[in-house]
């Protein structure tokens, strides 16, 4: 299972998303590899990913993907992240 967190620069917000996604996955007892990447490298980074995590601004910019796209509103709300990950992966 591979999950990619996408943001504009790949250094700030996607890092927080990665950390909290890992926490949510641990809570759900789901094993997955979570990486952070920027929008420019999404095609490569997410080529074999099952799930892309990102913010509302990036949904239309992701391009074609076979991955499930999860749109996160509050990056610090583990309940939101857990519920959305469980819905996508469960």
């Amino acid at each position: 299972m591979k999950i990619v967190a996408i943001c504009g620069a790949g250094v700030g917000t996607s890092g927080i998303l990665k950390v909290n996604a890992e926490r949510a996955l641990a809570r759900l007892d789901i094993e997955a590899e979570v990486t952070a990447a920027d929008l420019a490298s999404v095609a490569v980074a997410a080529a074999d990913a099952q799930v892309i995590l990102t913010s509302p601004e990036f949904v239309d910019r992701l391009g074609k993907t076979n991955a499930d796209v999860i749109v996160v509103q509050n990056y610090f709300d583990l309940d939101e992240l857990s519920a959305k990950l469980e819905a996508a992966l469960g």
Partner: protein, 148 residues
Amino acid sequence: MLALPDAAILLGRTAADWRGAVLLAGEALQAAGFVQQSYGARMVGMVEEFGAYIVIAPGLALAHARPGPDVLAPGMSVVTLAEPVVFGHPYNDPVSVVLGLAVITADEHVAGIAELANVFNDPAALGRLGAARSAADVRAVFEAPGVL
């Protein structure tokens, strides 16, 4: 924890709009010696290019740009706004606290970012920052027991 000296903390400031708020975060990073002046404009440029995605939680923006030659040292800044400003985010406006983030490489600061997540996973943290009256108050939010 990323470095957060007194010079990088601006409390109760006024910004005309989101650009002004992001530039304040850049000024604070510059005052602390983390970045050169151009970095603030590059943080604004990220929002111009990608939208208000840096507003990652209700009331909180994480301003940052890519690593570059204008980043002198890794660190962060904290700006609290007397009047919240609108960034144009679909869910999380208006913003009352702006964090500025400067990193040298993307991978090097995963630990610092993880600690930021620890701090703000506590829903009370943002309110405590907004109410901070001194740099010590701000630092206490980031150094709360159980965070580090």
